[in-house]
């Protein structure tokens, strides 16, 4: 089986400082990979390198494209990479404001990706937008409201709908539950888990919240100072951490 995404030796330096160093892994279709680590451990740098937002200094990000099979997305031309970015890839930002157009209605936000890939029928676009709002539990009557009138949790769900409307195969998520209160987090996680399973999505989730990866991720990588210190099945890593840093991370979680 060809991996959907194969990351080999990704290295990104900021001057003398290491962003992330020599990270390699394979992600198979339908798999959810969690990346955990403390602030500054290089997990967001790694995610941005994989999603094409940053250019790594070394390494390959090979994506199994629909038309041409496995291609290195770093050496691919920019129009092709941006095309991937609005069709097969999706990127969920930590702050919904970074991923949404705040001056455009919810329907327009969801419809943007459809129009970007050439959809030109208003009725169809609106029907799909309304359908997706329903799937992320936003009331269909809010379709013409701007995201500024939405709560934080709703904005985050809208961002997810906007990203998934074109049926991507790979979703990058940067702290998708950050900044939300716990009950809203729980609903969002529940929703994400459902969508990932229903659509057979592959996802890479960067977070510092171990509960998020426990619920969503099949596999886990623990990063520290830009390097992967431990990787394995989520339950294995969380229940029986081998590396000293992983042990520290797991034991730091507050038990209520």
């Amino acid at each position: 089986m060809t991996p959907l995404l194969s990351v080999q030796g990704i290295t990104k330096r900021y001057g003398a400082h290491i962003g992330c160093a020599d990270v390699s892994f394979d992600l198979y279709p339908g798999e959810v990979m969690g990346i955990v680590g403390e602030s500054g451990s290089g997990k967001s740098t790694l995610l941005n390198c994989m999603a094409g937002h940053l250019i790594p200094d070394a390494g390959q990000v090979v994506f199994d494209t629909r038309t041409d099979g496995p291609r290195d997305t770093i050496t691919m031309s920019e129009p092709e990479r941006r095309m991937l970015g609005r069709t097969d890839w999706a990127f969920v930002h930590q702050h919904a404001r970074d991923g949404l157009r705040m001056g455009v209605s919810a329907g327009g936000n969801v419809g943007e990706r459809l129009m970007a890939v050439g959809e030109r029928n208003y009725g169809d676009i609106r029907d799909k937008a309304t359908d997706w709002l329903g799937r992320v539990e936003i009331d269909a009557t809010r379709v013409d409201d701007r995201p500024t009138t939405f709560s934080g949790g709703m904005q985050q769900r809208l961002q997810i709908a906007r990203n998934l409307v074109t049926g991507p195969r790979l979703v990058f998520m940067d702290e998708p539950t950050g900044g939300l209160d716990v009950s809203v987090q729980a609903r969002l996680l529940d929703l994400l888990r459902g969508l990932v399973r229903d659509m057979g999505l592959s996802a890479i989730i960067v977070t510092h919240d171990l509960a998020v990866v426990r619920l969503l991720a099949d596999r886990l990588m623990v990063m520290k100072s830009g390097r992967v210190v431990e990787a394995g099945l989520t339950d294995q890593v969380l229940d029986d951490p081998q590396h000293a840093y992983s042990q520290l991370l797991v034991s730091s979680v507050l038990q209520v």
Partner: protein, 283 residues
């Protein structure tokens, strides 16, 4: 020094502007940056159009200026006088006699012919500006032909008003490639943009951009399959000349709700009246 150089600008500046114009004509709809000069008028009064006119005028040209279709409003009169004094060219108000027509916000009703140049004054040349504030990003979107966002604007119009409510500066696609802002002309005029015999030049002074449409260029107004583009105008006849095919201005004539509709193109209206056509409000 007692005299201005022909058409106010110095020859080097005019060469620089002509180079930008030629590049614009070679790539229809593409916004060519140019080093816009300070002109003796405020930004927003047509500094871009004036510079383009200065660069294309020759001593044998006949010059016409219209402002919202009219030859006799402040902007039109002052720019016409400006070139009368600095270039000494002949001026006219008759569309068919003019070789260079500088316009603000209208295309003349009378079809233009080959050999004429229509110069538009453009306030904001970037059609994506209010959707995407970053210039670096809009340039990238133009170069990669990523125009989905333009339809988001039209989508918003329909979702809010039930139809495409954008009525001026209606975005167009040129030769299937660049999305272009036709300057704030009413969308009624969009139909005249495409396949026009005259050269169309667009100058934005403050934004320092020139773009162009060579003669007989394909220009398509953006729309949705189920909400097609419609060139709309007020559903009346001209009160002065009775025309039913021209773009109309609505005038309030008293404080009792009285109003009349007249052609915004004064030359067209006067020519029709001289030919004996009479509207219902004509004296």
């Amino acid at each position: 020094m007692t005299e201005y150089n022909f058409a106010y600008l110095d020859e080097q500046t005019k060469r620089m502007i002509r180079r930008a114009i030629l590049k614009g004509l070679a790539i229809p709809g593409y916004q060519v940056p140019f080093a816009s000069r300070e002109m003796p008028m405020p930004y927003g009064w047509g500094t871009g159009g004036v510079q383009v006119s200065a660069a294309v005028l020759t001593p044998s040209d006949t010059f016409k200026v219209i402002d919202q279709g009219a030859d006799d409003t402040t902007n039109a009169v002052s720019i016409r006088t400006f070139f009368q004094r600095t270039a000494g060219v002949a001026t006219t108000t008759a569309t068919s006699d003019a070789t260079v027509i500088q316009t603000r916000h209208r295309i003349p009703e009378e079809p233009l012919h080959e050999g004429q140049i229509l110069v538009y004054q453009v306030p904001i040349p970037e059609p994506l500006r209010f959707l995407e504030p970053r210039e670096s990003e809009t340039r990238k979107m133009h170069s990669l032909e990523e125009y989905g966002l333009m339809h988001v604007k039209l989508y918003e119009d329909i979702s809010r008003h039930g139809h495409i409510a954008t009525s001026y500066a209606y975005p167009v696609k040129v030769e299937g490639r660049y999305v272009m802002d036709p300057s704030p002309i009413p969308k009624f005029d969009n139909a005249k943009l495409g396949d026009m015999a005259a050269i169309q030049l667009f100058g934005a002074g403050r934004e320092q951009r020139i773009y162009a449409l060579p003669p007989y260029t394909q220009v398509v107004s953006l729309d949705f399959e189920d909400h097609p583009f419609e060139a709309s105008k007020a559903d009346h006849l001209c009160g002065m000349c009775g025309a039913n095919d021209s773009y109309l201005d609505e005038l309030i004539i008293d404080d009792l709700g009285g109003r009349m509709f007249v052609c915004s193109d004064t030359d067209y209206c006067e020519a029709r009246q001289a030919a004996g056509h009479k509207g219902k409000d004509a004296a």
